[in-house]
């Protein structure tokens, strides 16, 4: 037990602190933001850090406390599924909160990026690393 704990600790220590964003993911995000540089914050991505089943992973994307028309659109991207886009959301005048929940597929352990495009044109993001034990079947 002790040895296993040690090996796991070593494994965690070896994980890179911040992984470079792969080109395809950056391109997918660019197509949503229109090239506006991303800033950290405002948008919130809720997802379990350890996912048992990658076939159906509950996620919540929201911009808490945003008044009506401030948020133009939300999007979610993944790093290592076959396709980087997951979901895009446009809010109409009747939407109450800037929040949406859904269930997604994850092919492997990877990074998720939630992006919010505000009415003033600025883009905000949050990145979350998730570990997936049972991958969604893509093969």
């Amino acid at each position: 037990m002790k040895r296993r704990a040690l090996v796991m600790a070593a494994g965690i220590a070896l994980l890179p602190a911040a992984r470079a964003t792969p080109e395809a993911l950056a391109a997918a995000i660019r197509s949503f933001t229109g090239g506006v540089p991303l800033r950290e914050g405002k948008v919130q991505l809720e997802v379990a850090p350890l996912v048992d089943n990658g076939n159906t992973v509950p996620v919540v994307i929201s911009v808490p406390g945003a008044p009506g028309a401030e948020v133009a659109a939300l999007a979610l991207f993944n790093e290592r599924n076959p396709q980087n886009e997951v979901l895009r959301v446009d809010f109409g005048p009747r939407a109450a909160t800037r929040s949406v929940s859904t269930r997604i597929r994850l092919a492997t352990s990877q990074q998720l990026v939630a992006v919010a495009r505000l009415a003033d044109g600025s883009c905000w993001s949050q990145r979350v690393e998730v570990v997936v034990t049972l991958a969604a079947c893509i093969e």
């Binding site: 997951v86 979901l87 009747r94 939407a95 109450a96 949406v100 859904t102 269930r103 997604i104």
Partner: protein, 106 residues
């Protein structure tokens, strides 16, 4: 005809935010999987969902293959007047499904 599960209140108070939950029975075949014969299964996903209240947009969602089978969405809307909620799904191979719910606002 696809089966759906829609959770929406039948009545609400004016000015209240109501929560809507929708689930559509659909395989969301990603187009990246290989079938028993070794060939790629053709993509068959729901690409768009939208919901409106008396014709006024609440939300419009674009879905990609990374959305799990039986796509589920939860969102909220302002209850301003009585009327009809319209739920529309559109997908590959001409898939289209529409549901309506009436809601009375007091």
């Amino acid at each position: 005809m696809a089966r759906t599960l829609i959770t929406a209140p039948s009545s609400a108070r004016r000015g209240e935010a109501i929560t809507l939950r929708v689930l559509l029975q659909h395989p969301m075949e990603s187009g990246f999987r290989v079938g028993a014969d070794g060939r790629l299964l053709p993509r068959d996903i729901v690409r768009r969902f939208s919901c409106s209240w008396n014709g006024e947009r609440i939300i419009a969602v674009e879905l990609f293959p990374a959305i799990a089978a039986n796509p589920y969405l939860e969102f909220s809307a302002w209850a301003l007047d009585s009327g009809t909620l319209d739920f529309v799904w559109e997908g590959d191979h001409g898939f289209q499904h529409r549901e309506q719910r009436t809601i009375s606002v007091a």
